[in-house]
Amino acid sequence: MMLKRFLLIMLFAWQMMPAQDIAIGSKRFTESYVLGEIAARLLSEAGFETTHRQGLGGTVIVWEALKSGSIRMYPDYTGTVQEVILKSDGPVSPAEMRKQLAEFGVGMSEELGFNNTYAIAVRRETAEKFELRRISDLKKQPDLIAGITHETLDRDDGWRAMCRHYGLTMTNVRGLDHAISYAAIADGSIDLMDAYSTDAKLVEYDLVVLDDDLRFFPEYKAVFLYRLDLDPAALAAIRSMEGQIDEKRMIALNAEAERSNDFGRAASLYFTKAGEAPPPETETTFWEKLLGWTLQHLLLVGVSMFFAILIGIPLGIRASRPGKLSQMILGVTGIIQTIPSLALLALLVPVPFMGISATTAIVALFLYSLLPIVRNTAAGLQNIPRPVRESAAAIGLEPFAQLFKVFLPMATRTILAGVKTSAIINVGTATLAALIGAGGLGEPIISGLSLNDSQTILQGAIPAALLAIAVQLLFEGLDRFLIPKGLRLEAENLKSRV
């Protein structure tokens, strides 16, 4: 009965998800979000249904998603295509790029009109104090503290290669999130940072961009990558952006996104002709958005927990018996738990049938939720006293009946505690699902991180924390219904004796 109701709710929740149509991807920074929003609007004006999978974890995740077809297009940069996707050492001509991309079934639009290359920025007073104008000038100042984004630190064409190219010997280097770097450079905790040349914050924080005098950074001309099997009318709609956005316009769009905390609004600025009134502030209210995030979050948690219980309890039953297989079950579920959640998500994305989707997030959450359930089920069964265990056999119960009539009911408390632990971890971990476009309460957290806007972060963080508390309370209530009365009396009796 309860199961049926649960499945109905799940079905309802699935239907709440947006229809699967032309999916547009974007990476986890303001400009990518805005370009994605513009594309979504262009497509819907051309009569297509669209979904914007925004804020995907990084180039690898978005690229895998495009290859596998989970998204049909996303904005990227020629430099990234050359270095990260095609893994080329030298410059590649646009024609050659298109030829190589075609092998993956992917096409590339003409340039949108701006070059968002990497830039090295310093505070104006730092620039004046040390007379810094060019990147070469840094050779004289090896002690300056650099705050560099993780991706740039790790990339072949990133920070280290730049230092070699210029012969720099910078020693104080920290890996930072891009949005946090601005706050850090403003308050003086770092002296220089990597930036994108169209960042609105360069103007806002009055930073000086150092001249790339030895021509290290490749060109990062914005383009759209799309699947070659994309509907020609949809492609035409996207290609209307070609040559339409120069650096100045992009900076203005980025600035609007950061001012209003609303990527959709920034995108609509693209459609506003000079002299026209700007569009109304927001279309969906905060509460509507919150409801959407929360439902999606509950869907991720609910489905993954459902399967974790369905699979975890039988595994735990098996693991309660002595033997090699039991050690293996506990060992493997334990190892899964130690994989950092972000790494697990990234590992799952290239797996066939996964891609960037709610399914991938659910699989990852399911794997994380297994250990507490398996371990507690096994422990609960092992802790049943021998006289009771033997009595169940001696009165003539079949092994299955022993398990279902005696052992499992007696282990209820321990098993429920395991499920509770899993559910609470699950609610927290599910915020990371937004990194692979699966939505949920992580969405405001991640866009808040890329906007460096703590209010937006809290819009996701507070509901997520409240949800975890609600789950805790729910399970305390469930204890009353699910733990057999005899066992509850036993526990009270023990407590009163102590």
Partner: protein, 233 residues
Amino acid sequence: MTFGEVVALYPTDLQIPAGKTTVLIGPSGCGKSTILRLIIGLLQPTNGHVHVAGGGDNLVALRRQMGYVIQDGGLFPHLNARENVLLMPRQLKQDEAAMNRRLTELCNLTHFSMEALERYPVELSGGQRQRVSLMRALALDPDILLLDEPLGALDPMVRASLQRELKEIFANLGKTVVMVTHDMAEAAFLADMIVLLRAGEVVQSGSLDELRDQPAEPYVNEFIDAQRSLVQL
């Protein structure tokens, strides 16, 4: 029967008479409980076999022909007294009215109050728990009743009254009873046949009079006298 390197029970051709009460007695570790556990199939013999008259190879079916009561009752803590007793009958989908008749019979037989049937094991006294355990063992009306120190954990007053009740129950039912105890007075009071064990071997079996009058070896007298002097104290 061996546990690791230790021989728990040497081969024996011990025969247990049907319809009588046989008491296995001996000091701790003599193998008396092992015999019960072999009979009910909680242990498998390393050598030889246990033959139960009328029993086949199916262990589950065999166990349903026997009732088994242990020292602490071995009651299921998540079930109340009624559910403990009726677990097997329900499992076998017996008729509800027949089950209730049987339950009333058993309550009368064991002097257990019907009102207490709704209580959980934790809410019952030691004596009541053993009564419920006995009812559970008798629920399917088995031919054989195995009791492993059923009164071992009870205080002397309760123990004495339960001994009298057990004697009455055994006489009424006429079942094959095998009971383990280390108390000679209890054995003398309840047994048709006493089997005295020592270190995994049967020393002598027979009635109390036979053991006393024709001891197989001096140990038999020593064991009886040691217990008797304790009782007189």
